[in-house]
């Protein structure tokens, strides 16, 4: 399969502390890559490099290259806003903007120049349907997004990312703190989305990674320990540390 993102010798340090060291990996197009590893292993940092949200942190040092469709996204002078439009992100905590449901979804597209009301409405409906939230909110699009439940809010956030019509979706523990039913809905959503989107999923939940992803990267203390197809990693892991982690012996 074609590679959407290629990471070459990527190192990242923050305040002279190594967070990632010489990571090499690849994200295949139209698939789900799971990134797993214990806390502080650099998962979130890696994710935030993919959309350059790491720029917000002061005193960082990045080495290596990250290619999105062959273009190095770490080069200076890159239009970060355009990159972030192509690479959407969903955070671990659902953060609805203090606006209505409709306005949450229309926020991004509108600021990127879509003014036509009809077009916005179509976009909102399509995104909400993709995120499997449409049926629950179709009659109250003008109500505040803050009134939704936690699980609904997280699906709203996914829909908000989808409304940007991105190519890649980054998810940082999207089901953290959600009940099993909401978690299931989000996992189903991810399955249906991978047909047309490239997805990178960071998760602390080993079983979620096993259930939903096609490929897995296992990070430990900023090092990539193992990278391969989910099936392989969960049946015949090459590294003992991977084996220990997925069988719950540490982490």
């Amino acid at each position: 399969m074609a590679a959407k993102i290629v990471v070459k010798d990527l190192s990242f340090s923050y305040n002279h502390q190594r967070v990632l060291s010489a990571v090499n990996l690849m994200v295949e197009a139209d698939s789900i890559l799971g990134i797993m590893g214990p806390a502080k292993s650099g998962k979130t940092t890696l994710l935030r490099i993919f959309n350059r949200l790491c720029d917000l942190i002061p005193h960082v040092r990045i080495e290596g290259e990250v290619f999105l469709d062959g273009e190095n996204i770490l080069r200076p002078g890159l239009n970060v806003d355009r990159l972030r439009k192509r690479v959407g992100m969903v955070f671990d905590k659902p953060v609805p903007l203090p606006r209505s449901i409709f306005e949450n979804l229309a926020y991004g597209p509108r600021l990127h120049g879509i003014k036509d009301k009809k077009r916005l409405e179509e976009l909102v409906e399509r995104s909400l349907r993709l995120a499997q939230l449409w049926d629950e909110v179709k009659d109250r699009l003008n109500e505040s997004a803050m009134k939704l439940s936690g699980g609904q809010q997280q699906r709203l956030c996914i829909a908000r990312t989808l409304a940007m019509e991105p190519e890649v979706i980054l998810l940082d523990e999207p089901t953290y703190g959600l009940d099993p039913i909401s978690t299931l809905k989000i996992e189903q959503t991810l399955q249906s989305l991978k047909e047309s989107y490239t997805i990178v999923l960071v998760s602390n939940n080993t079983w979620q990674v096993a259930r939903t992803t096609d490929n897995v990267a296992f990070l430990l203390m900023g090092e990539l320990i193992e990278y391969g197809s989910t099936h392989e990693i969960f049946t015949v892991p090459k590294d003992k540390r991977t084996d220990d982690y997925i069988s719950g012996r540490f982490g």
């Binding site: 002061p58 806003d81 439009k85 953060v95 203090p98 926020y107 505040s144």
Partner: protein
């Protein structure tokens, strides 16, 4: 050694003491409002509000001083609001904490500490004399705006900082630029705090006297433009009382002063609440 007081008893005593201290503070406020109202409200008639002072304020109303006060508020805020809110946005959103931001903050705090009589003297020397603007609402407005800046910067900064950082991250992650994020997400959420700063500014314009006498003057004529001299309500009250021209009219003016500050405060908080209800 004295017997230890039972903690429950102590709790009751402390609670009663704290309550009475709070009650005393509120009591002073109500006493002042009550006192001014008793003396001042009987003076207030439609004619008092709509006619100009006659015979140095011995009779007639206070219309020209109300107009002058409104002009002064307008000019001061038109200058202080963009500067103050802009500076606060710069300090919170566009720079990281550094030596420079510390110096800027220290500077604004010093500015807040300058006694108003000194500011009046500065306004007189610089705007009135050096720039040749004369005693005018423009001179006064510019001097007042310098005095309002620290408050507006401080309150705006605090309320911008109170906006959750996650909202900015979400906005950035949607490819929205920093400026758009500031105008579409940060400022709307910070609005109640900004409004508070502006309300404090308005109140300051209404109550200030020293600066006004130095820079706007004390002409009783109805100001026709920003280049005219004039007399604000507070100055009018001061002169009426200080020179013993007319105590009843002084109290009438004072009552209007207090009522307008009350009115501005209440309506500003109401508007901010309504706005919050709409977006949340």
């Amino acid at each position: 050694m004295a017997k230890r007081i039972n903690p429950l008893m102590l709790q009751r005593i402390v609670k009663a003491q704290l309550w009475s201290l709070t009650g005393f503070t509120i009591g002073i406020l109500f006493f002042i409002i009550f006192f001014i109202s008793i003396k001042g409200l009987p003076q207030i008639t439609l004619e008092f509000l709509t006619s100009n002072p006659v015979d140095m304020g011995r009779s007639g109303g206070i219309f020209s001083t109300i107009v002058c006060t409104l002009y002064l508020i307008f000019v001061s805020l038109m200058i202080a609001m963009p500067l103050g809110v802009g500076a606060a946005i710069y300090l919170t959103e566009y720079t990281r904490e550094s030596r420079l931001t510390h110096i800027i903050r220290f500077g604004t705090e010093c500015l807040a500490g300058i006694p108003s009589i000194i500011m009046g003297l500065f306004g007189f020397a610089f705007f009135v004399m050096a720039l040749g603007l004369g005693w005018s609402i423009l001179s006064g407005g510019m001097t007042m705006s310098i005095m309002l800046l620290p408050t507006i910067i401080r309150t705006t900064e605090e309320s911008i900082k109170a906006v959750p950082y996650e909202l900015r991250e979400v906005s950035f992650s949607l490819g929205v630029t920093r400026w758009q994020t500031v105008t579409k997400v940060v400022l709307p959420s910070a609005l109640p705090g900004i409004v508070t700063g502006i309300v404090l500014g308005i109140a300051r314009c209404i109550e200030e006297t020293a600066v006004i006498i130095f820079t706007v003057g004390s002409s009783l004529r109805l100001p026709e433009s920003f280049f005219d001299s004039g007399r604000t309500m507070a100055v009018h009250f001061y002169i009426l009382a200080r020179e013993g021209i007319s105590m009843p009219n002084a109290y009438g003016t004072a009552a209007i002063l207090i009522l307008s500050i009350l009115f501005i405060n209440l309506s500003a908080y109401y508007l901010a609440r309504q706005f919050l209800k709409k977006i949340c």
